[in-house]
């Protein structure tokens, strides 16, 4: 039983933090907020060179063969930096291709992702606000050359920079996952402006969008388990990023409470503020336990790994929202200004709370697992 990071994992965390402190300062994040593309090509290339993009990919395809635990460590740092970009959706798409792809699909996409040449994303949410894979409504009709996809996907993250999208649809065989070129015919992309300027979503409308037979990922009709696994990784990844955002907000609050004076004293000396900070720390520490337990469980395929992923997403989603929100309260009026950095993390955490299964979805999964 060892809950501590290995020396390699600590090194990864420390070097990621140092790198992001240098290259993804709040000022840099704000520049990207105003950028139509919303993410930095230079930063992405650096991340590739650091080995972050191929972190969890097999070595045969240019990856490092590490796991969800290392990914969570990185995502925690990315969340702490408020980094805007398609790291998590790319990681998820790559993991699915690695797990179920044909030799050709793996050879086409994995090295390209690891080197930073290609970004990828996942189109999980369909017409209904329902994260269950079986709620997928998009149709995939058989054509001579392959399939034609029709329907609509909402809140597809970073679709405008992705070279490949993972799209679940209902084929005659059942629920099937397709690798789709965002530039394919009959596919229109409409950006949806999010509250978090560091989150870029698109609505993707498919009108008989043609895809080849070789676009099927895994076996036709067998996408259910693949999507469940993808959602679990997304849940843990998002939880790690939210944890980083919450930790940053706590740190900023504690620093501020030490120096901000009212009534002739630092506000941190007042129990009203001190107790709030203590409660925030409690939720951050519990979130830490939940995130890294779940990441380990996914890697180890422990018997409770499905449960642990849902626990992490449900718990950390609530905790990060509260901690980031309370950090604004601790700061008072200054925390409500655009110039102050807290809203970078507050908005990021809120955006992630609603992705890869929200709290309600994961709590229902938990009840199903433990109470059937």
């Amino acid at each position: 039983m060892d809950f501590s990071f290995s020396p390699d994992q600590r090194l990864l965390r420390d070097s990621a933090r140092a790198f992001l402190d240098e290259h993804a300062k709040p000022a840099a994040v704000r520049l990207l907020w105003d950028d139509p593309r919303g993410e930095s090509e230079a930063l992405w290339k650096e991340m590739a060179q650091l080995g972050w993009l191929g972190l969890a990919l097999p070595e045969a395809y240019g990856g490092s063969g590490l796991g969800m635990l290392e990914a969570a460590i990185l995502l925690h740092e990315l969340g702490r930096a408020g980094y805007p970009g398609p790291y998590l959706p790319t990681l998820l798409a790559a993991a699915a291709i690695g797990a179920a792809g044909s030799e050709g699909q793996k050879a086409r996409w994995l090295p390209a992702i690891a080197t930073g040449e290609a970004r990828a994303s996942v189109a999980l949410l369909d017409a209904e606000l329902d994260w269950r894979p079986e709620a997928t409504a998009m149709r995939a009709e058989k054509t001579g050359a392959g399939f034609a996809l029709s329907g609509r996907k909402h809140f597809v993250p970073w679709a405008h920079v992705a070279r490949v999208l993972l799209v679940p649809a209902r084929a005659p065989e059942g629920l099937t996952l397709f690798l789709v070129d965002p530039g394919a015919g009959g596919l229109t992309q409409t950006p949806a402006q999010a509250m978090d300027p560091g989150t870029r979503w698109s609505t993707m409308t498919f009108e008989r969008t043609p895809v080849g037979a070789d676009a099927v990922l895994g076996a036709p009709g067998q996408a259910g388990p693949l999507l469940d696994a993808l959602l679990r990784q997304g849940a843990v990844g998002a939880a790690a990023e939210m944890l980083g955002a919450a930790r940053r907000c706590l740190d900023l609050s504690v620093e501020y409470a030490k120096v901000r004076e009212q009534f002739g004293q630092p506000i941190g000396s007042f129990q009203a503020i001190r107790h709030k900070c203590a409660e925030m720390l409690l939720e951050v520490e519990n979130s830490h336990s939940a995130v890294y337990y779940a990441a380990w469980a996914l890697d180890a395929r422990s018997e409770d790994h499905e449960l642990a992923a849902s626990v992490a997403k449900a718990y950390v989603g609530d905790a990060a929202r509260r901690v980031c929100g309370e950090s604004i309260q601790v700061h008072g009026g200054i925390g409500f200004t655009w110039e102050y950095d807290l809203h970078i993390y507050f908005k990021r955490a809120k955006a992630l709370e609603a992705q890869y299964g929200d709290g309600d979805y994961h709590r229902e999964l938990i009840v199903r697992r433990v109470a059937a």
Binding site: M1, D2, F3, S4, F5, S6, Q9, L69, V254, A257, K258, Q265, P266, G268, S269, F270, Q271, I273, R274, H275, C277, A278, E279, L281, L282, E285, N286, H288, S289, A290, Y292, Y293, W296, A297, A300, S302, L307, A308, S310, V311, A314, Y315, D360, H362, R363, E364, L365, I366, V367, V370, A371
Partner: protein, 401 residues
Amino acid sequence: MDLNYSPEDRAFRAEVRRWLETNVPKQELPALEDRKAWHRRLYEAGYVGMLWPKAYGGWGTTPMRQAIVQDEMARVGAPPPINGLGIGFIGPTIIVHGTDWQKQRYLKKMLTAEEIWCQLYSEPNAGSDLASLKTRAEDQGDHFLVNGQKIWTSAGPIADWGILLARTDSKVAKHRGISCLLLNMRQPGVEVRPLKQITGHALFSEVFMTNARADRRDLIGAVGQGWEIAQTTLGYERGANSLGRVTRYAAAFHQLVRATRELRRGGRPLIEDPAVRAKMGRMFAELEVQRYAALRVLSALQNGESPGAASSITKLSYTEFEKRYYETALEILGPWGQLMSSREEFEDVDTSSGEPGTWATAFLWARAGTIYSGSSEIQKNIIGERVLGLPKEVRADRLKA
């Protein structure tokens, strides 16, 4: 990071499980002598005093193994050992601060529950502000004369000895005038009155000391060193209960699941009601997080880290969780959750977290957790000051001093 139990710990767990299967008493143990006998069997099996050094009659094993024993005991609802406060806290205080004579005289009998111990700290007007305690111990040369009142004393009526904080000097700053003594509870000057709690039971007592006598050889440390000794956070039992506690919560959850299958609303079982499911999902998520946090604490102990003030986070976390947990359970169960006695037709409703009693008792008991051993507010002060490094508050008593 590897959250699997080691093969050795798994083997140990299996061994404990086998031992408990053959040794756990089949019926309840109302008589003190039977509970002492059970305690001794646990001790002889190596399951009591696990973290005490072997030199003092303990077993010198690991926090993880101790947590495993408590977890397995919780799993089968085994009666706990009885001298918890003595073994967890008072004995280690004697080991660290006591004289050789005190160690010889008290430790072994404490371990074997031949003598039961209680703690005489809190007073009616000294709760969170413990250092303002008023009980006096006057130095009479070969002994101290003790006068005053203590409250919230667990095991009071059965205790043979108590560890006492009393004021030996009222002229110095309040923290410096306190001494730590061992007090014989079996003497005419000590009167123990049971104190009935909101649960209807009396697990605590008030203790009145009128010209009670504490021998000088029972002074722990030096005169005036009592506060310092009481502040020494002794980690002997740290993490001991962590797994067992979660196992009891989980047992309660599974009883709740059974109850929500039996109780019905709108022609269907409660468990099919989305509002109930949402509440239960939140309960179980929080419960699992408590489990992960417990493993994290045990791992840190195993790696030789001392949690120090961070153990306030653990205490705050599980006691506040426990309140929310039973509040939600009673919301779900409605009036069925408030029954104080068993009903045949809904046996599963009428149960608690492994302790005798009902959901209602567990719900009531949860109010105690956030008060005893340093209230949630005190824990948050400790976390704020010692973990987060926030400035100390300006306090009236500090301004005077």
